[in-house]
Amino acid sequence: MIHAALGPFGDAIEFIFKERESQAGTVRVGGLGEIWDFTSTHLLLSFTATLIATAIALPLGIWLGHIGRFQFLATSISNIGRAVPALGLIVFFIAFLGVGFTNVCAALVLLAIPPILTNAYVGVRGVDPETVDAARGVGLTGTEIATRVELPLALPTIMNGIRIALVSVIATATIAPLANVDTLGRPIISPNVYGTAGQLGSCIVVALVTLGADGAFAALQRAVTPKGLKVGQRPKARRFALKFPIPTRSTT
Amino acid sequence: MQAATLEFRHVHKQYPGADKPAIADLSFRVEAGDICVLVGPSGCGKTTAMRLVNRMIDLTSGEILLDGRSVMERRPAELRREVGYAIQQIGLFPHRTIADNIATVPKLLNWDKTRTKARVEELLDLIGLDRSLGRRYPAQLSGGQRQRVGVARALAADPPLLLMDEPFGAIDPINRERLQNEFLRLQGELRKTVVFVTHDIDEAIKMGDKIAILKEGGHLAQYATPSELLMYPADKFVEDFVGADRALKRLALQRVRDIDLWKAATVRTGEDSAAAKAKLADADLPYLLLVDDRGRPKGWLSDRALSGERIVEDLRSSADPIVEMDDILRDALSDLLAADTRYGPVVDEAGAVRGILSLEAVGHALAATGGHVPTATELARESAAHDGRATADGLSSGSGSDLARS
């Protein structure tokens, strides 16, 4: 058995692929079926929260960046966001609003808003003022400038913000079982049922899912970057920025 | 250390992987105390040539001799501490005070504190900055002040050779003119050997004792004094690069005092009208110029002013433009054209009329091809010589055409 050679890791991997008895011997746990259930709940929760956060923060950030005011607001939101511990926020929601998918999702939305808002703001503000001036000069209206000039040019930065938010949310959703939402964090939070093998197995899956989502998003990012930006970017500095988003916040 | 000679001997530079050399068989010699300007279109290798001297780049073959000794025999760091270096972006250290910036090379050379401090203060005086500015940071200075500090830093260890790579390139035209004049005045006193890189032929003509025009591939197209270059361009390339207005550019090399001025008929109020009219016979211009007690021009007299027995102050027009003896001919001509007139009174340092500059006289100067046309540094040296306080004053004064007001 090669699993044995890997010690606790071998046991954990076996948990992922093969069903077994729970610690108390009352139910069957583990195996690809249950892991898949956890994973789909985990991703559903994360995507929902990120989507809602994007729907709120993106238009707001672009608008704030377009009118160029409230810089203090836009940047302090991200600072405050960084300082508030994810753990505290989730537990806060549970303690004050109770358990359930909606509540934990609302908490995750709050976590996801700051990086999206700040990056949208910074991205739009970062568009070369001469480009905006030229757009105004050829007769584009304010809305047209925002949607046809600023948005495409700010897209790499905006996408970075969403990517950071998504990764944070996936990581934080690990503690969602505290609110009775059975994500991949369930075996981590309840080793008395799933055993240490379940705990470690889930950790491995969570890590892989996070890295996978991050990688998939990076590919998406590359696909939506305007061609002109890719061609024109100065070789090193920009390529970095694309591949590796500036992580402005971390959570779990 | 005063100044060193610099000689390029068949210098060749080829970057690895490049199919053409960056510098090809470059030979010229710069005498001690001269400013040699390397000029040419972009990509001609002028900056490369300069950087070969302090081994920022190493040459492929040939020799560069600094005071007769090959630079390739020297350790780069040691060589560079001995050669002043000022570049376009200035490259001041934003995290160090002005004094610390100037003291960079003395510190590398392990000078003791007292000596370094004294040298920094001396240099601040020399470039006309208040000593209290030594405690400031570069960001607190104006662009022109930073540029001066850049030059002071390059001069800190009293190097016999100064390399300057487009040092005034990023400065607006008015300040550039001022800094050029200040540098020439400084050079009139210090007499360093200077290698100066620029792409601006006008700057080259103004600054250079000798000009090396390079063309693409690092070939030396011509090495000559500015006036030789303007009068006898070696080939079509030099002719084009110098510009179709090269005859006009020679005006930049001459001063009003260098050409034959017209004699003026000057009169004062209260003078006898008949005697005044008699003066016209002797003058080159049939108009009377009214001057004050000290001989300063007030304006051109109208006919009515002479109708009485004595001259009264009744002007047909002002005396503008008033030209100074030290003005560059080009500027004086420009003043005449701008004032829409053919004549302007020329005054000396005291402001007294010495003659009349006319379009005809300028034309005559342009036509005369022979004779020695002095370079700008020679002029600066002359004026520095006959006016001891010139250097420091000129630098500290914020006024424009400093060269003119020695």
Partner: protein
């Protein structure tokens, strides 16, 4: 099953930490309310976790700073190293910390050291990136001027490039400081205590959650301010500019 059927370890903790609260006669804590009076009375219970949290934040930051700065200087010297370094530290950063802690205890065992290893790993990307960016943003002209005056590459690195990169480096360090405080909130998964342990010990009791969370936020703010103070002291020319 119950959502709060936490691990035996956690349940045990809860008893130790809040032994006096369970079944408290006082109505307020018994109803899981905010209870300011209870917080004041039991404030000393949070001092030990707070101190653990301080250590869990400061030690990884210090080690991480030295390590990441060294790596960034190396990557600055040998630019080919930069992309693999950055990819590696980015991946480390992406892994959720709970997973990281629990995977790591199977390698290095439970305890403070394991938490420090993980937290140090998380600081790397933030500090490394900013140090490298700071070094790269030093204008070419400044470096050339330094070379032209005969400074050695070591003199240029320590005398010119690093000082000029300080503002960017400190910006990274500030972000790393508050991030580390946040991630250290999960360090109890590695058996290293901290304020996260207090939160988890009784996550339904509002008074407890608020007290511990506020302490974490205050600690993050205090650390950021401390870093800012050091930055101000080390970069006098920055203040000169803004004057």
């Amino acid at each position: 099953m119950s959502g709060l059927a936490v691990t035996p370890v956690l349940a045990q903790l809860s008893d130790d930490f809040f032994g006096d609260r369970q079944g408290a006669a006082d109505r307020c804590p018994g109803n899981n309310e905010l209870c300011p009076g209870w917080i004041v009375d039991n404030f000393t219970d949070y001092l030990n976790p707070l101190w653990e949290h301080v250590l869990l934040s400061v030690i990884p930051l210090a080690i991480g700073f030295v390590l990441a700065t060294g790596l960034a200087m190396l990557a600055h010297r040998y630019p080919k190293l930069a992309p693999p370094f950055l990819a590696f530290v980015s991946i480390l950063f992406t892994i959720p910390s709970i997973a990281f802690y629990l995977i790591l205890i199977n390698v290095t065992g439970r305890g403070f050291a394991t938490a420090v290893v993980a937290l140090t790993a998380y600081t790397q990307v933030l500090i490394f990136r900013n140090v490298l960016t700071g070094l790269r943003e030093v204008p070419q002209g400044t470096v050339e001027a330094a070379q032209g005056m005969g400074m050695s590459s070591r003199q240029i690195l320590f005398g010119v490039e690093l000082p000029m990169a300080l503002p960017t480096i400190f910006a990274g360090l500030r972000i790393a400081a508050s991030s580390t405080v946040g991630i250290a909130g999960f360090a109890f998964f590695a058996g290293a205590g901290g304020l996260g342990q207090s939160i988890f010990a009784d996550p339904r009791f509002r008074g407890n959650v608020v007290a511990a969370s506020v302490l974490m936020i205050l600690l993050a703010a205090a650390l950021e301010l401390a870093v800012l103070a050091v930055q101000r002291a080390l970069t006098p020319w920055q203040r000169a500019v803004s004057r």
